[in-house]
């Protein structure tokens, strides 16, 4: 198939960016979206032009690196699918595809389609862990956890930290990401000791990083490639209230 691509090009953090238009032939349905981008880059390099920079690594939908805003949707038209798992059979011959980076104040653009998501790491560093040093653990079967609870914790833990929730939110809120991590630990017995302090510290870091607040539009859940449920945000709010109202935050 033949495509027209409108891609955001921006040299570095400081430069002003703009859309460039490219046309591309020989794209087949079996190709992944990123393979289509590889072909575009091959063409650009053969013309001695700079390749389009984009983040990617696993190309299996698990590392969370890939991050393209395609035709107005984070990760493109298919639900529950990362950019790297999107295939060209989701497009038609003659289509025009608009490709942008994630746009959010807390995710500055580094180059072209690559953004800086280090704010996510800072949120985790603020408390997204159980303080258990190597070697101090008890036997793994010492604390049984009922399967339903364990499954719910796993549902939340599946977040890949891609940032599509932020990119899709009109407030650029990272509540879905934050709530997934808080829920994962709040549900498990191992997470109890630091439960209150964790949510307060992580929430504060979230706000300081420049992410907006949540107004429950549900756009994040709809665009999340891992179908992280918005009910996690409800749990986050409960956890936060509980911790904020208690005077013993340990």
């Amino acid at each position: 198939m033949k495509l027209t691509l409108k891609i955001w090009r921006q040299k570095n953090r400081q430069a002003a960016g703009k859309f460039e238009t490219y046309s591309l032939d020989n794209v087949t349905e079996d190709m992944s979206f990123l393979e289509m981008m590889d072909i575009l880059n091959l063409q650009l390099l053969h013309d001695k032009r700079d390749a389009v920079a984009f983040d990617h690594d696993c190309r299996e939908g698990i590392c969370g690196m890939c991050s393209m805003y395609i035709n107005g949707r984070a990760h493109g038209p298919e639900n529950a699918t990362t950019t790297c798992q999107l295939h060209m059979r989701s497009f038609k011959d003659g289509d025009t595809i608009v490709i942008e980076p994630w746009r959010a104040a807390a995710f500055p653009i580094i180059k072209d389609l690559v953004v800086d998501r280090s704010a996510f790491d800072r949120i985790v560093q603020a408390g997204g862990y159980v303080s258990v040093s190597t070697g101090s653990a008890v036997d793994a079967n010492a604390i049984p956890i009922d399967k339903t609870t364990a499954d719910k914790a796993m549902d939340a833990a599946e977040c890949i930290g891609c940032g599509a929730c932020v990119a899709s939110c009109k407030n650029s809120s990272a509540m879905l990401f934050l709530s997934a991590k808080v829920s994962h630990f709040a549900l498990l017995p191992q997470g109890q000791a630091e439960r209150k302090r964790r949510v307060l510290d992580m929430m504060r870091t979230h706000d300081e990083a420049g992410f907006g607040s949540c107004t429950n539009t549900g756009a994040c859940e709809a665009e999340c490639p891992k179908s992280i449920s918005i009910s996690n945000i409800a749990r986050l709010n409960r956890e936060y209230l509980l911790a904020a109202l208690s005077n013993d935050t340990m």
Binding site: N12, D30, M31, S32, E35, N41, L42, L45, H46, K48, R49, D50, A51, A53, D55, H56, D57, C58, R59, E60, I62, C63, G64, M65, T81, H87, R89, K111, V114, D116, S118, F120, D121, Q125, A126, G128, Y129, V130, S131, V132, S133, T134, G135, A137, D139, A140, N141, P144, I145, D146, K147, A150, A153, M154, A157, E158, I160, G161, H184, Q190
Partner: protein, 637 residues
């Protein structure tokens, strides 16, 4: 073994390159112990290391199932699975430590799969007859890596670890024969940085991407290990590559990577091809039972579909080479779940493998609940890597290698679910202890001064190489060279090898390397974010590594594990091992285009009897049974 006191630990700086399972676990644990740690990764966050993609599970000799598992059994399975080409001591320690890994992960909040009673669930993997694989749906790597990432994040928060994301290590600095630091490039700004440390730990993963197409993440590379090799570290068993039997077959010329379908699928899936060539083009559902060849069950009745990976991969190649392969290219076999769905119901299968089935459907647009999957072997893992001793030290004092980057535990073939185990064993439990021996002699060294000549020289050589790539201004892209190298490697140093093909491969690689330095095109400049420049450096190193792999494969006149030399096979096509090759090949660098020197580390088996691997019959392991005074029955080695 010497220890380092808490006050002295504060005076010691350790550089950890890599934040996968091995690197993140090591950096976090060293930070907890009180060392000053700097940790580097080339992705935008440590959580994105290639370990994240591991699907199937992690082994541990917990024996929660009471099915006869033990530390000894895991040790035995691993040595045998590796075709008697691994060092006994390291593997025994790995099996011992495996038990603690699961405890640590669970304490961190890793949500492993559980049974209704609330206890941990396990499943079976290839090459074993017990159920010792712990898992978190099809995302075990993700969950255990996020556990290590959380421990690392905690240490970053306390200031014990300083994290350098989007940094690529481009050289090791050695002074008076000791590793004293690294040269790294900030890939966002292009700045070249010097970092000094009392020890350097490489946990930089495997080099399967030398084949261009593999199941590894796109950025996985050999650069860090290769720079260490060029600085004098020995490279162990470079030709030992694992070709994984269950991957989605190649579909087109522009394919950029291959996708694994976890080995756990072989628990319930049955592998077959048509008995008759004429049937290969038919709809598989129209081929009656009696016309199907379940070749693994036929050839290996004791293990059936759960034979080790090297055996399963080669068997697939054999039936496809006979003309009985299926799919467009004829290079695929069926993995069929119809029986399991009939026996257990679609829901159980969905619960076990749902995400893998979804992934398959997303890529191929076919529904595996209705028709069998089509699969073919693909490059997956490299058993070879930097040579290390029992302490995980390379032969360069102060330079350590962990995880897939070292050669240590898997011999000529790795068993499924054992890489996660090894990465975490090395990172959490082994290195943080063994490194103390070396560092106890470093407490008087003082801060490493990065103004020393060795740092300046290493920095200059890094800058020169980067400038060289930019200034060639040729006509072929880096990927085009990489693709060409991959084709040579796959055809001549892949699933089966012979002396003639290997010799050809060596000269073809040399010619390709020469062309690369004349005709590669890298756009832009060195002092900006430039992914093509990063790739150029990696492919340049692969172009050297490829030749070493070929040299190693040529030297090893035997077949063992993943290394199958066509000249050395038994009448029934099984691998023919040769006793005189019961050694680790450790290669020493002598300069570009010069032959490397081979050092041999003899492998001595004191606890296991070296046998021909046999997955067709049931064999008993000979673990002695000891009766202790308490009246307890304990199985011990």
């Amino acid at each position: 073994m010497h220890l380092v006191s808490p006050t002295n630990k504060r005076k010691l700086d350790i550089i950890v390159v890599g934040s996968g399972l091995a690197g993140a676990a090591a950096a976090a644990t060293l930070g907890e112990l009180g060392y000053n740690v700097k940790c580097f990764c080339f992705q935008d966050s440590p959580r994105r290391a290639h370990s994240i993609a591991a699907q199937g599970g992690i082994n541990a000799a917990k024996n929660y199932r009471n099915d006869g598992d033990s530390v000894y059994r895991l040790f035995y399975d691993t040595i045998k699975g590796g075709d008697y080409r691994a060092r006994e001591g390291n593997v025994y320690r790995l099996a011992e430590v495996s038990v603690q890994i699961i405890d640590q992960c669970v304490a961190q909040g890793v949500p492993f799969a559980r049974e209704y009673g609330g206890l941990l669930d396990t499943r079976s993997f290839g090459g074993t007859q017990v159920s010792r694989t712990f898992y978190a749906r099809g995302q075990t790597g993700q969950q255990v890596l996020l556990g290590a990432y959380s421990a690392l994040s905690r240490q970053i928060n306390t200031g014990a670890v300083k994290m350098y994301n989007r940094h690529e290590m481009l050289d090791v600095v050695t002074i008076d024969g000791k590793a004293r630091g690294i040269i790294a490039r900030n890939v966002e700004s292009g700045e070249i940085e010097r970092h000094g440390g009392h020890a350097v730990v490489l946990a930089t993963g495997g080099y399967g991407n030398v084949f261009f197409l593999s199941t590894n993440a796109m950025g996985s590379n050999v650069t860090a290990a290769w720079k260490a090799y060029r600085k004098g570290a020995l490279f162990g068993n470079p030709c030992f590559t694992q070709i994984h039997p269950t991957c989605i077959p190649v579909s087109g010329h522009f394919q950029s990577k291959l996708t694994l379908m976890s080995e756990s699928l072989r628990n319930d899936g049955r592998v077959w091809v048509p008995k008759k060539k004429e049937d290969c083009g038919k709809n598989p559902l129209d081929i009656p039972e009696q016309d199907r060849d379940y070749y693994l069950e036929r050839r290996y009745p004791a293990f059936g579909n759960l034979v080790p990976r090297d055996v399963a991969s080669r068997a697939a190649k054999v039936v496809c080479d006979e003309g009985r392969g299926v799919g467009k290219s004829g290079y695929a076999v069926y993995l069929d779940f119809a029986d399991a769905i009939k026996r257990l119901g679609e829901n159980v299968i969905r619960e076990r493998y749902g995400n893998l089935f979804d992934m398959y459907e997303r890529i191929t647009a076919e529904n595996p609940y209705k028709a069998p999957m089509r699969i073919y072997p693909a490059v997956h893992y490299t058993m070879g890597g930097l040579w290390v001793d029992y302490e995980l030290s390379t032969n360069v004092p102060g330079l350590y290698a962990l995880g897939e980057a070292n050669f240590s535990d898997h011999g000529a073939n790795r068993l499924g679910a054992s890489a996660l185990m090894q990465g975490l064993a090395d990172g959490y439990f082994v290195l943080p202890v063994t490194i103390g021996e070396y560092l106890s002699h470093e407490i008087r060294s003082g801060k490493i001064d990065t103004n020393q000549a060795a740092f300046a020289e290493a920095e200059k050589s890094v800058r020169d190489t980067l400038n060289q790539f930019i200034n060639i201004k040729g006509n072929k892209t880096v990927d085009e060279f990489h693709l060409a190298l991959g084709k040579i490697m796959w055809e001549k140093c892949g699933m089966s090898r012979n002396a003639k093909g290997l010799a050809e491969a060596q000269s073809e690689i040399r010619a390709l390397r020469e062309e690369f330095y004349k005709n590669v095109f890298v756009p832009g400049s060195t002092d900006e974010f430039n992914p093509e420049l990063e790739k150029a450096g990696r492919v340049a190193d692969f172009l050297e590594l490829g030749e070493l792999m070929v040299i190693d494969a040529l030297n090893r006149n035997e077949s063992c594990g993943g290394h199958f030399r066509e000249e050395y096979q038994m009448a029934d096509g099984e691998a023919l091992r040769q006793d005189e090759y019961q050694y680790v090949s450790a290669w020493q660098y002598n300069g570009m285009n010069k032959a490397p020197t081979l050092h041999k580390e003899e492998l001595i088996f004191e606890n296991l009897e070296v046998k021909t691997r046999n997955y067709a019959e049931w064999v008993k392991t000979s673990s002695p049974v000891l009766v202790l005074g308490m009246g307890l029955l304990v199985i011990k080695s």
